[in-house]
């Protein structure tokens, strides 16, 4: 990509965020209906996207700013809120949408859905239904890269709530002990499902915890994609140079409820409204306008993203379902299907 800070790069970052936003909005819409939960009654409209759908709406700048600094052969582990990471790492929108629709043409052949979205072909090793579970996996992947003397790195996304789970300590300690090429990225939206994270978290947060393990970190405005990009760029350079792990602490905000069917009524409406004034798309487009990018150019990007997602939705809705027999495949070479 173009050099950090250049207008053309910022245009790319904006455009990538816009694609993610469009994807999230479409997935949200497609998830309406279905089961009763979070205080809502079940609707009779059948949902096209079923199951827990954790939207990254409002957090796009973190995924995009970090992934702008990754190569295709770099690896990535994600959280339950993984759409943005997956798209930013280069995954195909249509195959992703197909997966959310549970179709056999999805990345996971309809076996995983949103919570397990992955595209191994671009190094995206998977969203994860278990908080903080990606951290040990990331350290192991980085360990393998080091042992195999490959030049690549691993980006490991996790949430602020995840930093209170044991694997956070075990994984960061491990990465530093073996001096592994990992960039830990804390997407700090300051909430864990329905519970504010701060009162559940002792001390000065993830950077302090990383520092106690000798891991340097940068704290950044996670809604400003240019700032995330710049910070990630520096940290990734240090990691690629063999400097061991680094941590990026990105402060952001979750515009939506915890899952798509959660109206998030436990949050103060004024807080949400204030946060939306700092929408990463607004910040980024304002910055672009300051550099002379026209409204028309921006509108064109927005339009292209909308078109791309609309096409993906159409393709996904028409894609075939998995065959029943596929339930017995991809498990183990001995075992189910043969042995049951």
């Amino acid at each position: 990509m173009e050099s950090v800070g250049s207008t053309s790069r910022l245009l790319n970052l904006y455009s990538e965020m816009r694609r993610i936003r469009a994807f999230e909005d479409a997935a949200e819409e497609a998830s309406k209906g279905g089961v009763a939960a979070w205080g809502l009654a079940a609707s009779d409209k059948p949902a096209l996207v079923r199951g827990p759908l954790h939207l990254s709406t409002g957090q796009e700048a973190v995924a995009v700013g970090v992934c702008a600094n990754l190569e295709r052969a770099d690896l990535l582990t994600s959280t339950h809120r993984g759409h943005g990471h997956t798209l930013a790492k280069g995954a195909d929108v249509t195959r992703m949408m197909c997966e959310l629709f549970g179709r056999s043409t999805g990345f996971n052949k309809g076996k995983g859905g949103s919570m397990h979205i992955a595209d191994f072909s671009v190094g995206m090793l998977g969203a994860n239904g278990v908080v903080a579970a990606g951290i040990p996996i990331a350290t192991g992947a980085a360990h393998a890269l080091k042992i195999r003397k490959l030049p690549n790195i691993v980006a490991c996304f996790f949430g602020d709530g995840g930093a209170n789970r044991g694997p956070f300590l075990e994984g960061l300690n491990w990465a530093q002990v073996y001096q592994l090429p990992v960039l830990f990225v804390c997407e700090d939206n300051r909430i864990s499902a329905t519970t504010p994270t701060a009162p559940m978290t002792a001390g000065d947060g993830v950077s302090a915890r990383a520092a106690a393990l000798g891991i340097a970190s940068i704290k950044v405005d996670g809604n400003d994609v240019a700032a995330v990009d710049q910070a990630a760029c520096g940290l990734v350079k240090e990691i690629r140079a063999g400097g061991g792990p680094r941590l990026l602490h990105a402060i952001t905000y979750r515009f939506k409820g915890h899952v798509s069917v959660d109206p998030g009524t436990y949050r103060d409406a004024a807080e949400v409204a204030a946060a939306k004034l700092r929408d990463p798309l607004l910040i980024s487009s304002a910055a672009l306008r300051e550099r002379g990018v026209t409204d028309k150019e921006i509108a064109q990007i927005d339009h292209d993203a909308a078109e791309e997602i609309a096409a993906a939705l159409r393709d996904a809705a028409n894609a075939p379902w998995p065959l029943v027999t596929e339930a017995y495949e991809d498990i183990m070479n001995t075992g189910a299907g043969v042995w049951k």
Binding site: R50, G51, G110, M115, V130, R165, A193, W339
Partner: protein, 327 residues
């Protein structure tokens, strides 16, 4: 811990549990509950209103720290409380297995009876709403295998009220498995009904075949009785309710009358608890046995895949018919 007034209320499975816990907390100040998002009522509303009523000290919102949630509950129990542990879904309880198995279950024995660990670990089980492989497990056989653990799996609102209270009263660690698909099911709850751990309920009497099941399997089995495949068959249906202790007497008595036992559960069939029930009956009674559980496959996301792991009245009826006509 029984209520003074006799009442028959119409409650959902979730509300019944909340009521049972509420009554236990009112009666006994040592009962507390801890877990993530309890203050907002829990993921499924099963703690709704309790933090407002009992305060943050007794309905405790916790960090995302499953190991410490379970481990702290062990320490709380040793220091005089009766904690209810919320694990959200059983899949996350896998983050707390040392604490449950090595620390809670063995404590009383290992320390020669010096202490007791009266905790109730709630671990919602089962397939629900396209939640895929990491949010759909039913691992009851794991806990039945572990000395020191009581294992309970209520099928109805009534039982989720009565068995939760019995579990809170029992004084040893209880793995309490609510099924996620049962939360909204409403039925009449008699708050004077006292449950005994280890006592099954015979829901339907019959003479040709005994079906033993529990949790989500109960409703599906009762529905299966209307299937044309079972026309003319006289089927006895037993809801086991607790898997340890389990009601061997009721089951053996029934199978020795019917001569045929089918065990039905949603968990994976291989090494599921159905194997224990079937093997025990084969040993003790020598009747014909068969099991119906899920194939040994992870639960898939797409409906067509998920369906392969689910029980259904049709599958149950088919398995029952096969056993009735065998040999």
């Amino acid at each position: 811990m029984s209520s003074d007034t006799s009442t028959a209320l119409s409650l959902t499975y979730a509300e019944a549990a909340a009521l049972g816990l509420r009554e236990a907390m009112s009666a006994d100040p040592t009962v507390v509950a801890l877990g993530e998002d309890l203050g907002r009522g829990g993921v499924f509303g099963q703690y709704r209103g309790l933090q407002t009523e009992f305060g943050r000290d007794r309905i405790i919102d916790t960090p995302i720290s499953e190991s410490n949630i379970m481990g702290a509950a062990v320490g709380m129990a040793l220091a005089g409380l009766r904690p209810v542990v919320e694990m959200r879904v059983i899949d996350f309880a896998l983050c707390a297995m040392d604490e449950l198995i090595n620390q809670a279950a063995k404590n009383r024995f290992m320390f020669g009876g010096q202490g007791r660990v009266p905790l109730v670990a709630r671990m919602p089980i089962g397939i629900w709403s396209a939640s895929a492989a990491q949010h759909s497990q039913s691992l009851e056989s794991w806990f039945a295998h572990i000395p020191g653990l009581v294992v309970v799996a209520p099928a109805t609102a009534q039982d989720n009220y009565s068995l939760l209270k019995a579990s809170l009263a029992c004084g040893d660690p209880v793995v309490y498995m609510e099924h996620k698909e049962l939360w909204p099911n409403a039925s009449t709850v008699d708050t004077n009904e006292i449950a005994v751990l280890g006592a099954a309920k015979t829901l339907q009497h019959g003479s040709d075949l005994t079906i033993v099941t529990w949790s989500r399997g109960v409703g599906l089995t009762l529905a299966a009785l209307n299937d044309t495949q079972l026309a003319g068959a006289s089927v006895e249906v037993i809801d086991l309710r607790s898997l340890w202790p389990w009601d061997q007497r009721a089951v053996f008595e029934s199978c020795s009358r019917t001569g045929r036992l089918l065990v039905v559960h949603e968990a994976v069939q291989v090494a599921g608890f159905g194997a224990e029930v079937a093997a025990s009956a084969a040993e003790a009674v020598g009747c014909r046995v068969a099991r119906l559980g899920a194939p040994r496959i992870p639960v898939g996301y797409a409906s067509v895949l998920e369906q392969e792991s689910r029980l259904s009245p049709e599958k149950i009826a088919r398995a029952a018919r096969a056993l009735l006509t065998a040999k």
